[in-house]
């Protein structure tokens, strides 16, 4: 009896998967326009194949992704989609405001138990990317998010883009403010690296159910990538140093 016959005869079913949800919350205020939003679009496009590769190797975790844009208010940019089917459509940045509070409130609505169920999932990963200060009620957004069980359990990572981002405000969003305060992406290379790290390496840690040595309930985050130059690379001028 060959394998196919055997599998058919046993009545084996598809293995049960835990769902890992990854959310990208993108600031589309006008100050993000130009290079910054271009880099965000580029980074997300680049990271998708890596996430798909990871997903193909993992039969027990289903990764779903969803993106939100916020500026004047907040709205979902995509629906929740299995990573293997996910395609990124570029976002533009031209909003006159930075309604981060609205984004967090919308995130809270997504993370209700009615919506996601009571469990058998992995903690979601939420990546908040912003270059400015919230222009609406940020505090109440945070409160709403943390009022949800899934929101409290989420790995919440903030990426502060450029020099004007309000890192103090973003710090309140972070799930592990001590070890992972807002990542300051002060150049294009750092921005791409941090989006990649937060999306790929962090979700790997979550799906591998890593736990720290201490007794706390914080998922240890993998180390941030160091800026390295590959051995054998041409040592020309570093073109990623432009101020933006």
């Amino acid at each position: 009896m060959d394998n196919n016959d055997f599998v058919n005869e046993t009545g084996a079913v598809e293995v049960s998967k835990r769902i890992l949800r990854l959310y990208w919350l993108v600031d589309v205020s006008a100050s993000m326009s130009g290079k910054k939003i271009g880099e965000v679009n580029y980074a997300i496009t680049e990271v998708i194949p890596d996430l798909q590769d990871e997903a193909a190797k993992n039969y027990t975790v289903q990764m779903n992704v969803r993106a939100m844009k916020f500026g004047k208010g907040a709205a979902w940019h995509t629906s929740e989609t299995k990573i293997e089917n996910f395609e990124w459509t570029y976002v533009d940045a031209d909003a006159p405001r930075t309604d981060t509070g609205a984004a967090l409130a919308l995130m809270a609505e997504e993370l209700t138990e009615e919506n996601l169920g009571a469990g058998r999932g992995l903690p979601p990963v939420i990546i908040l990317m912003s270059d400015g200060e919230a222009t609406d009620d940020y505090e109440s957004g945070i409160q709403k998010l943390l009022a949800q069980k899934w929101g409290r359990k989420a790995i919440r990572i903030a990426i502060a883009i450029g020099a004007d981002a309000d890192t103090e405000q973003l710090l309140k969003f972070c799930s592990n403010p001590k070890e992972c305060p807002p990542i300051e992406a002060t150049n294009a290379r750092k921005l791409v690296d941090s989006i990649t790290w937060a999306s790929v390496a962090v979700s790997q840690s979550v799906s591998q159910a890593k736990v720290g040595n201490s007794e706390d309930n914080i998922i240890p985050l993998p180390p941030m990538p160091q800026e390295t130059i590959a051995l054998g690379a041409e040592t020309t001028e570093d073109e990623d140093d432009d101020v933006f």
Partner: protein, 451 residues
């Protein structure tokens, strides 16, 4: 089909690293990346190898020394993708190993909907795995990082390959800082009470084999159906309060019906002696790390016994296991396939040979292609020597309706015939398979035939 070669972050494609042997190691493309570094396909003097290159956090002098020791020691068997050479460049380093040959796939594929191990495959894979661990433990080392990602299986032949061997280290020490992979680590490691050692290897190996046979995780069942797997729950599930999904005395953590159905399906397919070994490690063995876990030799016995008790269903030809536990309970062995006419029916079981070595007894089902092995006839701790063929089931050329066991040893076997006469079976002669054959003497073992 020409795919653009993938570029890594640590080494540039095309870069030639000088090696001690004088031949350059030329980087061709990125094969994969992980927490410790990246793996590249390289070309050294026309030979393609894999080069694992460590990132800054991982490359330590201790790791380099350990790798050099492993290389010096040499591969314990051809089942390991063993480190070949340490390659250094500008204060960084990595090591070369063979590339996983075509036909081998991640063991994790058993979790895909289309691939499962048959009884024969499961026994073959697990025996190689257990024997490989025996070879490591015999050198005072332990594997430390048992998980699905490190095992590759050729699902056509059942051959295995074990990779990522650089975490192999002396009992109780961790060179790379790797203490295991969540879900595979022994509870005492999850609880922070122990470093990896041979006892924790025994646990992790059992988790891996449970996954191979029963697909789901042995500790993650209904208790966690409504939990978000945050560190608190993970620690409870795998460390502080583990409960076997098939615990005979507590059914509160059974695999979730429907969701984790595979575990129920495959658990029901296996004979009691296989289930007993897993039950032992995941009940007693959760807390009693010294005496509760089946030893490698115990697992070898379990999977050899599985091999010895498989026979083809006379109705459909699929493999069925002669499970003495079921036979004693129900007086019959049935086919497990619901579509077979032998389903729920009493099957005609082939003749069995009951062999006694000292006070140890084993029953072997005699199929038309059954071979007898050295380990069945004598106390033989060596796995390879034990695999030597000492007898084989053959048809009587003069009367094709009759069968026998050909003596493939240099000794003369004896038996007592129906008339009470002692008869010799010289080498290359065959012992008749008949109910009237009594008091078989294989010299190192005695036996009787059950028909």
């Amino acid at each position: 089909m020409n795919k653009k070669p993938k570029q890594g972050k640590l080494l540039t494609n095309g870069f030639a690293i000088p090696t001690i042997g004088g031949v350059d190691c030329v980087v061709e493309e990125l094969l994969g990346k992980g927490g410790q570094g990246e793996v590249y396909k390289v070309n050294i003097g026309g030979q393609h190898l894999a080069l694992k290159w460590y990132n800054e956090r991982t490359r330590t002098q201790a790791l380099k020394t350990s790798l050099e020791e492993l290389i010096e020691m040499g591969s314990p068997s051809d089942k390991f993708l063993w480190p070949i050479q340490v390659i250094e460049c500008q204060g960084q380093f990595g090591y070369t190993m063979g590339i996983i040959p075509a036909g081998y796939e991640s063991a994790q594929k058993v979790q895909s909907p289309t691939v499962k191990l048959t009884y024969k495959m499961a026994a073959k894979v697990c025996l190689q795995l257990v024997d490989s661990f025996r070879k490591i433990h015999a050198k005072g080392l332990c594997y430390q990082d048992v998980n699905f990602g490190n095992l590759f299986i050729n699902f056509q032949t059942g051959d295995i390959l074990i990779c990522d061997n650089e975490n192999i280290a002396p009992h109780g020490r961790s060179i790379t800082g790797v203490i295991g992979f969540q879900g595979f680590m022994a509870p005492e490691i999850v609880r922070g009470e122990h470093m990896p050692d041979t006892q924790t290897d025994l646990f992790s190996l059992a988790v891996l084999m449970f996954h191979l046979l029963f697909i789901e995780h042995p500790l993650d069942g209904a208790r966690y159906a409504n939990s978000i797997m945050d560190p608190e729950m993970v620690r409870k599930c795998y460390g502080s309060d583990p409960l076997f999904v098939f615990d005979p005395n507590d059914d509160s953590n059974r695999p979730i019906k429907g969701t984790q159905e595979n575990a129920h399906i495959f658990w029901n397919l296996y004979p009691q002696f296989v289930k007993d070994a897993f039950t032992q490690v995941f009940t007693m063995g959760l807390n009693d790390r010294n005496k509760g876990r089946p030893l490698l030799q115990d697992w070898i016995d379990v999977f050899r016994k599985l091999q010895e008790n498989i026979f083809p269903c006379p109705h459909c030809g699929c493999d069925v296991v002669y499970d003495t536990h079921i036979f004693k309970q129900t007086q019959q062995i049935s086919c497990w396939r619901s579509s077979c006419t032998g389903f729920g029916q009493k099957l005609q079981v082939p003749p069995r040979l009951r062999i006694k070595v000292g006070n140890r007894e084993r029953v072997i089902v005699l199929n038309t292609d059954t071979k007898l092995f050295q380990y069945q006839m004598a106390r033989e701790p060596d796995f390879e020597k034990g695999g030597k063929i000492v007898g084989e089931v053959v048809r009587n050329p003069k009367d094709p309706t009759k069968w026998g066991i050909r003596n493939k040893t240099a000794e003369t076997w004896q038996f007592v015939s129906k008339s009470g006469e002692t008869k010799d079976v010289s080498p290359e002669k065959a012992l008749p398979l008949s109910a009237s054959v009594k008091n078989i003497d294989f010299k190192t073992a005695t036996a009787e035939i059950r028909i």
